[in-house]
């Protein structure tokens, strides 16, 4: 399991779930309840479990349209800055509009291959 866990991106740590976990771990480290190495183990587990859960538990499909403002492809990571985006999910009738969305996307193949 430990060898597998290194193959997952830590990209989801930047989402709300990841930042709150990091905060909670920081609190415990600050209170000297756990040591940082243990916190790093928790985060690597988190990387794996988030990726697995999103692919296994989530069935929702999403479409979105907008005008691309900036695109960047570096180290196999796509970064898009899209303006005036409209999101639509197939499970709901309402669409969500945002004036600006940043998309950070890692290659799905790399995790599969490794």
């Amino acid at each position: 399991m430990a060898t597998n866990s290194t193959n997952f991106y830590d990209l989801y740590r930047h989402g709300s779930l990841g930042t709150t976990l990091t905060d909670a771990l920081d609190d415990l480290i600050g209170a000297e309840r756990i040591d940082p190495q243990l916190a790093m183990k928790v985060l690597t587990q988190f990387d794996r479990i988030v990726a697995e859960s999103l692919s296994d538990k989530v069935k929702a499909r999403l479409t979105f349209k907008g005008s691309l403002d900036t695109y960047r492809f570096c180290d196999e990571v796509w970064t898009f800055l899209i303006k005036n985006v409209t999101f639509k999910m197939d499970n709901g009738s309402h669409s969500v509009v945002a004036d600006k969305v940043k998309i950070v996307s890692c290659s799905a193949k790399r995790t599969d291959e490794k």
Binding site: G15, L28, R33, E52
Partner: protein
């Protein structure tokens, strides 16, 4: 677009993570309670973000509206308090200001020519309003005496006392002149000169005194001459007005211990006496600079010359602290300098801030984290297939298994 499944997915992830690291915690000798604490802390922080409804806090579901209500109900009292304090704050200055204005309006009215209770007030109203105790008002006091005869007795007495205490028998002539109430001493020329610039009043004041006494009695003239001599001696000695015992001229402020016509603050902030020549130079410099302003900062001059003058002017401003600092620190000039700097720095800052804002918006606001299967581009049209993503838009969070996006660049 609903995000109802987000709560269950996140709950699942949290449970999985906690279960997965339980072994690691045991291996590290960390007790189970800490793990539980981690889970609770995590869930609590996630709930605070309020990005979705979470199954672990069914209670917090009602609390958010309740909290909102509390905030709403709590807000009015605060605003009321603020309002009352505001009204108090606005009312109290009015009530306190009214007596002030009464004072201000009453005193000149009652005094006629105006006994100024505060020497500092003389500065604001230069001209014929002369402090009764200035000691040099041999001419002024009788005039005052004549103007309001009812009150003049006190002032005349005071002047006489002052003269007597200062000059003793020599002043007997002046005293008798005062007491005889010489109304004709006040001649219009003197009146006209007095409203002139307060800084030069002392000198102007003394000169006419000697000349403009055609109707004066001989005694009085002698007395005045004596006092003038006395004063001149004391001024040459550049002492504080010890022999007089009374301030020489208080028209330029309340500082009693200086004999100079004007005071200015030097670079260290110490008051420095200024002589007549210095003052003339100051005025000349100021007029010259005004003239330069009038001609548009040297628009009609060759560029070299114009810039040279300006740089010189700036230099002199920097070194001497400004030519017009005779009446205290020149706030206007400093403000202008500050403003110039502020404009520049604002311009610089705004750019940087804009960049920062963009970064913040990108990182904190609307964001999608996901994997990509395919990213295709035909000319300016992009198509991408994404999967396993988390999307944060407008404070809500969404998860998706697959997403397709089309956008034009």
């Amino acid at each position: 677009m609903s995000n109802a499944n987000v709560g269950s997915v996140y709950d699942h992830i949290i449970q999985e993570v906690i279960n997965a690291v339980r072994v690691d915690f045991e291996e590290n000798g960390v007790e189970d309670g800490v793990l539980d604490e981690l889970r609770k802390g995590w869930q609590q922080k996630l709930s605070q973000l309020n990005v979705a409804q979470f199954p672990w806090d069914p209670k917090p579901e009602p609390p958010p509206p309740a909290a909102a209500n509390n905030a709403q109900t709590a807000a009015p009292p605060v605003s009321q308090q603020a309002a009352t304090s505001y009204t108090q704050a606005t009312l109290s200055p009015q009530t306190s200001a009214q007596p002030l204005s009464h004072q201000g309006s009453l005193h000149p009215g009652a005094n006629g020519m105006g006994i100024k209770p505060d020497p500092g007030m003389v500065k604001t109203e230069p001209g014929i309003k002369q402090e009764p105790g200035t000691g040099m008002s041999q001419a002024g006091v009788p005039a005052y005496n004549a103007a309001n005869a009812g009150r003049g007795g006190i002032a005349a007495q005071r002047a006489a006392q002052a003269l007597e205490s200062n000059y003793g028998p020599r002043a007997a002539a002046s005293i008798s002149a005062i007491q005889s109430g010489m109304a004709q001493q006040m001649n219009p020329a003197q009146l006209a000169q007095r409203p002139g610039q307060p800084p030069q009043q002392q000198q102007q004041h003394q000169a006419p005194q000697q000349q403009q006494q055609p109707n004066a009695q001989q005694q009085y003239r002698q007395g005045v001459a004596a006092t003038m001599q006395q004063r001149l001696q004391s001024q040459q000695g550049a002492h504080t007005n010890g022999p007089n015992g009374l301030p020489a001229a208080q028209v330029d402020g309340s500082s009693d211990s200086f004999e100079g016509v004007l005071l200015r603050h030097d670079a260290n902030g110490h008051p420095v006496e200024m002589g007549r020549v210095e003052i003339d130079n100051l005025i000349h410099a100021q007029i010259a600079s005004r003239a330069k302003q009038m001609e548009g900062g040297g628009l009609m001059l060759p560029l070299k010359e114009a810039t040279r003058h300006r740089s010189i002017a700036n230099k002199s401003k920097a070194t001497t602290g400004g030519p017009s600092q005779v009446d205290g620190p020149d706030d206007l000039m400093k403000d202008e300098d500050l403003d110039e700097d502020a404009i520049n720095s604002d311009l610089d800052d705004s750019e940087e801030e804009k960049d920062d804002d963009e970064e913040d918006d990108d990182s904190m606001g609307h964001m999608m984290l996901c994997m990509y299967d395919k990213v295709q581009r035909v000319k300016n049209k992009w198509k991408c297939t994404l999967k396993d993503g988390v999307l944060t838009v407008n404070g809500r969070e969404y998860v998706f298994h697959k997403a397709t996006g089309e956008y034009e660049w």
